[in-house]
């Protein structure tokens, strides 16, 4: 079983620059040099993250120059408007086979988060038609097209994720695979590659999130007058039973192991309320 264990990079959350720009190379087989405002910022192969760079708010030139998988030149010049907060700038291929690389920016949804939760932003940067995303067998995102993204807060821990052709339940493009999400982390996940040549893969950029200050209640007290005297009955299953979302297929996939192999499945998920 493959487990994608996502851990927040370093503990510099508190000191992270207010405009942290991370540059991500998601074109399979390509090697590019990245410059920002004419200044070299490093070379990147597919899967590489450069940065984060502390850029001032406003316009900046971002250029990618290099060689693609088929030996042809890549030269993408662009202007990025930097806003406060974290931004990922991603060089990737369009949906159509043989298209020239494009650049999209993704702002990090860095709002504070409650206890026991993790935030996932999943972006479609692959050479494939719109896709749905299943988490633990449940469709969570639908019809995400190339360049688009979706985000959700999910329980921290290990979830099973699959990418499927939009509107279908079978033949995943990617996965399903277990992904471990740390509590109070943001995982910006970029699915890239081409399922037709088996090059599907993901790049994950994980950062810590601030706590929203919520604390789980230990007690609830909701009455004081004693006006209700008739006994109250129970019905339905009285508490959730254990029900681990079935792992559909342990299909080979190109998902990345980001930090560590964890072979243990998460604690059984409380489930099955009906």
């Amino acid at each position: 079983m493959t487990v994608l264990s996502l851990t927040a990079a370093s503990s510099d959350a508190a000191t992270a620059p207010s405009s942290a720009v991370t540059i991500i190379q998601a074109v399979p087989g390509a090697e590019v040099s990245v410059t920002v405002d004419g200044e070299p910022r490093g070379d990147a192969e597919v899967g590489d993250l450069l940065g984060p760079f502390d850029l001032s708010a406003g316009r900046h030139d971002v250029s990618f120059v290099g060689v693609g998988a088929d030996g042809e030149d890549i030269a993408v010049d662009s202007t990025l408007t930097v806003e406060p907060g974290g931004t990922d700038v991603v060089l990737h291929l369009p949906a159509e086979v043989g298209g020239a690389p494009v650049v999209h920016s993704y702002r990090a949804p860095t709002g504070a988060i409650g206890p026991g939760k993790a935030r996932v932003m999943l972006a479609h940067t692959a050479t494939v038609a719109p896709a749905d995303v299943e988490v633990d067998g449940q469709t969570v995102f639908t019809n995400i097209a190339n360049g688009e993204f979706a985000e959700a807060d999910v329980p921290a821990g290990t979830i099973s994720v699959a990418l499927l052709p939009s509107g279908t339940q079978e033949d995943p493009i990617l996965g399903p695979v277990d992904v471990t999400l740390g509590s109070r982390t943001l995982s910006m996940i970029y699915a890239y590659g081409n399922p037709r040549d088996g090059s599907m893969n993901v790049i994950a950029h994980v950062t810590p999130l601030a706590a929203d200050g919520s604390v789980a209640p230990t007690r609830i007290d909701t009455g004081s007058a004693g006006l209700v005297t008739r006994p109250v009955s129970s019905f339905g299953e009285d508490r959730p039973g254990p029900s681990t979302a079935p792992m559909l297929l342990a299909a080979a996939s190109g998902w990345v192991l980001v930090a560590a192999l964890v072979t243990r499945r998460r604690r059984s998920r409380s489930s099955g309320l009906r």
Partner: protein, 218 residues
């Protein structure tokens, strides 16, 4: 090469790459970040002459953005306002004093979140206001419909269960507020017997409703 072997190879390759990235993040990056951000015109005339804007990523169109619930429409049709609440330093859920207003625990799931419990609680009664709207939870029948609304969303639910939980610590009943498990609405109010000498109501009535379909925009 078997798929499994190919996968393992890919995983190892990327693991190495990513580790290198993570390692480099605090080194070269800090050095770069320490420099003043370049504000002078790009020395590359070519870059500025042919630059096209970086396209901001689009939010996928049919993806719901979760929102805090604002109103519940109970099975009787009665509408109850909902406000976001936390917990007191003592760990007590900070339910609104006004029995006409329910409280949603802001640390839990929101309307539109794919998993977990949306916990909404209200007082069943008060000495000054009498019985509150949540009293109907004590007699609600299985299958009863109800709605939850936020600023931009509406979700239809159906009542599935009612459980009596003895008053006291919720340490063993975290299913009431867990962000884990299937998405659901958990409605809580107090239930008899009432014993003034032992703190009042001795039970919580916990009604669980399950979503029917997906949230729709209002």
């Amino acid at each position: 090469m078997s798929p499994g072997r190919a996968l393992a190879a890919a995983v190892c390759a990327v693991l190495a790459t990513t580790s290198a990235c993570a390692g480099g993040r605090t080194g070269p990056t800090d050095a770069a970040a320490g420099e003043p951000a370049a504000t002078s015109p790009s020395p590359s005339a070519r870059a500025s002459a042919h630059a096209t804007p970086v396209r901001p990523a689009r939010r996928a169109r049919r993806t719901v953005s979760a929102e805090a619930p604002r109103r519940a429409v109970l099975p009787s049709g009665r509408t109850v306002a909902i406000e976001a609440i936390g917990t007191t330093p003592a760990g007590l859920l900070d339910v609104p004093e006004d029995i006409e207003v329910a409280g949603w625990w802001r640390g839990g799931s929101r309307l539109g979140d794919p998993f977990g419990s949306i916990l909404v609680a209200a007082h069943v009664d008060s000495r000054t206001q009498g019985l509150g709207p949540f009293a109907e939870l004590l007699t609600v029948a299985p299958g009863s419909p109800m709605d939850l609304e936020s600023a931009g969303l509406r979700q239809h639910f159906e009542v599935r269960s009612r459980r009596l939980v003895p008053q006291g610590s919720l340490a063993d009943d975290s299913w009431i507020f867990d962000v884990d498990g299937p998405r659901r609405l958990t409605l809580v109010t107090c239930a008899p017997p009432y014993d003034a000498g032992r703190g009042g109501y001795q039970n919580l009535a916990v009604v669980t409703a399950v979503p029917i379909g997906e949230p729709t925009t209002r």
